[in-house]
């Protein structure tokens, strides 16, 4: 299969049934995308497919087709990353790449989200350490 990840085209050999998360992590070594539940409940595996956040652990790699996949590795220059560090919006950091990807999707569509919009967009990304207040702050101040 062919897949476009972070503006690179890759040729991969994946068994049918391989999830996008497995393809990214195991085939492309893009381990910034985390798997924390493997069944679409926690958001740690969030990546962008044509700019829309999807749960890569329950998305089949072969179903992505020609769409452009963006992982956290493709967002290294995005101001959102610095905003997360600045606001201390992470603790153990395991959910954080997924949080960052969801946050980027939000502000790309809505550059100045309200608290309600932030909470709605981010409610699918669980953080067991409870960095939520500072995740909200990071998203509010991402352009500073």
């Amino acid at each position: 299969m062919r897949i476009d990840v972070n503006d690179h085209a890759y040729e991969l050999r994946c068994e049918v049934g391989t999830t996008l998360a497995e393809a990214l992590r195991d085939e492309l070594s893009l381990t910034g995308t985390k798997i924390a539940c493997g069944e679409g409940h926690c958001g740690a595996c969030t990546v962008l497919v044509d700019g829309t956040p999807v749960l890569s652990c329950i998305t089949l790699a072969h179903a992505v087709g020609d769409a452009k996949v963006t992982t956290v590795e493709g967002l290294r220059e995005h101001p959102m990353l610095r905003a997360f560090v600045r606001a201390d919006a992470l603790q153990c950091g395991f959910c954080t790449p997924g949080q960052v990807v969801s946050a980027v999707a939000l502000v790309e569509a809505t550059p100045d989200p309200t608290t309600e919009e932030i909470r709605h967009a981010m409610a699918g990304n669980l953080c067991r350490c409870g960095a939520y207040p500072k995740i909200e702050e990071a998203i509010r101040t991402w352009r500073d």
């Binding site: 381990t31 985390k34 409940h41 956290v72 603790q91 950091g93 960052v100 909470r119 990304n125």
Partner: protein, 736 residues
Amino acid sequence: MARLIRTEKEVEGRYEEVFIVVEEDALEQWPAGPGEVVGRPATRVDGFERASGQAVYTADLRKPGMLHAAVLRSPHPRARATVDLSPALSLPGVHAAVGPGEIEQLSADCNYQGQAIAAVCADTLAQARAAVRAIRCDFEVLEPLLDPDEAVRRGELLGDPRVRERGDYERGLSEADVVVEAEYRTQVVLHNSLETHQAVVEWTREDAVEVHISTQYVWGIRDAVAEGLGLPADNVRVVCRYMGGGFGSKNSPDEYTFIAAELAKRTRRPVKCALTRREENTAAGNRNATIQRLTVGARSDGTLTALGGEFVNAVGWGGWSSGTEGPMQMLYACPNVKTTTHGAKLNLPPMKAFRAPGFVEGTFGLEALLDELAAKLDLDPLELRRRNHTEQTPEGGEYSDKNLLECYRRAEPHWARRHEVRARSTETVKRGVGMASQIWYGGGGPPSYAWVRVGSDGRATVVTAMQDIGTGTRTAMAQIAAEELRVPLEHVTVSLGDTDRGPYATLSAGSSTTPSVGPAVRAAAADARAQIEEIAEQRGLSKDASVAEVVDVLEDAQILGKGARGPNPTGMQVLTFGVQVAEVAVDVETGEVWVERIAAVHDVGRVINPLGASSQIEGGIIQGIGHTLSEERLHDPATGRLLTTTLDAYKLPTIADVPEIVSELLDVPDTHLTNLGSKGLGEPPIIPTAAAIANAIRDATGADVRRLPISREEMLRALREAEARQKEKVGAPAGV
């Protein structure tokens, strides 16, 4: 000078007597208040690595030739299994299988759901899982013991009942003007670290292994693995540079590490054994349920005359009976206290430490009971607590430092909001404010060691084999070294998490990392600094010359400083204290509860990093809110089968559940405690949250909630009970 002492060592509220070698702590504490780096907000030194996905967690580790293991576990809480591994071994990609009795951790004798029976390793995880499904396994299902009270009646206990008494409890009760009795229950809560328990084990020689593991204690893993595999401890290298949460559940190697070790030995390949989320929520530990039958006696002015408790810790099949009675024993000046604590052994998965084990549960019971007493006496709950405050330990001993009254004083503005909050109640939505106090350990202790290395570029590396489990200890250690060395924070890196590359440091549990390792890091930095000043003198440079200027001629030479954690103050209890004030809204028609605001004031001595500290407080409170309102591991009471192993069924708090959180730390160094005066902050913030919320609910509605989580069912039950009580009292329908 090194000195051998016999001392009490405390971990998670459990004490043991140990011999340790300590080195005297010769440094004076820094003056109170912010320094150049310490006491000032610092963003995480590893924040970018973690946020950007560059940090390599155990879950991300790929070794050449690495095989993946999967584990067959008992679906029954009590059963005898008969196992045939051969169908699994014939499947594609499968390299080895290990069955019951072949290693100690695998058993056909299943006493809880999730007991590991057998394991397989294969080229891919999918192949390993398919092979586990192919194992032929028949179960003789037996009747499980699930009821904690029944276990106590039958004497199915973990350890002897713990009876602790001071004064004369019965006399204390007879002297009381008012006696309140209540039964509180707390539920099983799951840690749900987002990185599940996992390890990659590789035999690097016939008699040496390397273990990469998501752990809170690399040295504990080293010793346990060495013992389990019969190897010298130095032949076991344990590495954990980044880990995705632990909360108390990752202090030991558990079955998965030994499964990986055995399969790695048989295949001569590195083997990874990682729990799935469902395995994690079955067999990776939990905060056990408790039943607390509590009694308080007091004079009409609120002076406590007696406190009593029968505590049942529903421990499960293994673990330990935590100090649920601790808050009742320790928080107030009451002269007559008697507690009995049972650890019920049940056919349920073993408990593990979970962020202030016992004290979270016990504080809910005690502090809710105190508010029931305050209501009965028509006393202000904060005033009731002040009247029973103690400046000495209840046994008459000394605290190294205690500023609980100051915490109360600083909480006053938050407490004073209750009139305005209540006034915002409507016909169906009642609002109120509640508070609860916090007591816990957190002083840490020896031993812990650190080295500090300064190169000719003037940059420093702190080397200590501790862990940063997400609390920000890596950043705190860099701050301490930067302060002492007088270099910018950006010029310090911290190398940690590797038993082959650094000296011993304590576990990341019990709020002990900063107070244990921090003083060692400071001592090591001071040792390096002294050498730098000697060189400055020989070069004719001023004492205040920058480190870079002093060492720039050194080329490959390095300054090496070493430091050790000194002893704790003799004969003093080192404890942490605090108070939280919660504001809630209760829909009295639906039973829905919202937490709208929590103010937290804690005293943990000197604060190293105010930014990271505020994050710790927020995180603790948010976990506390989950514990109070939504989280519960349920099992079917008939079969004992677990019902909430997914993150869909088990309700963790989300960003939408977070109230306004205001946090404040006293930031006063404990002058008796080491060269830093700092205590730990990991656990204190989760301790009073449940009780503060329950007490706010009482303030709002008059209802006594006594069971966690406060589901709508429990809320409506408490409201109906309050209404019935009100009717009885006035002979007319209640206003609620």
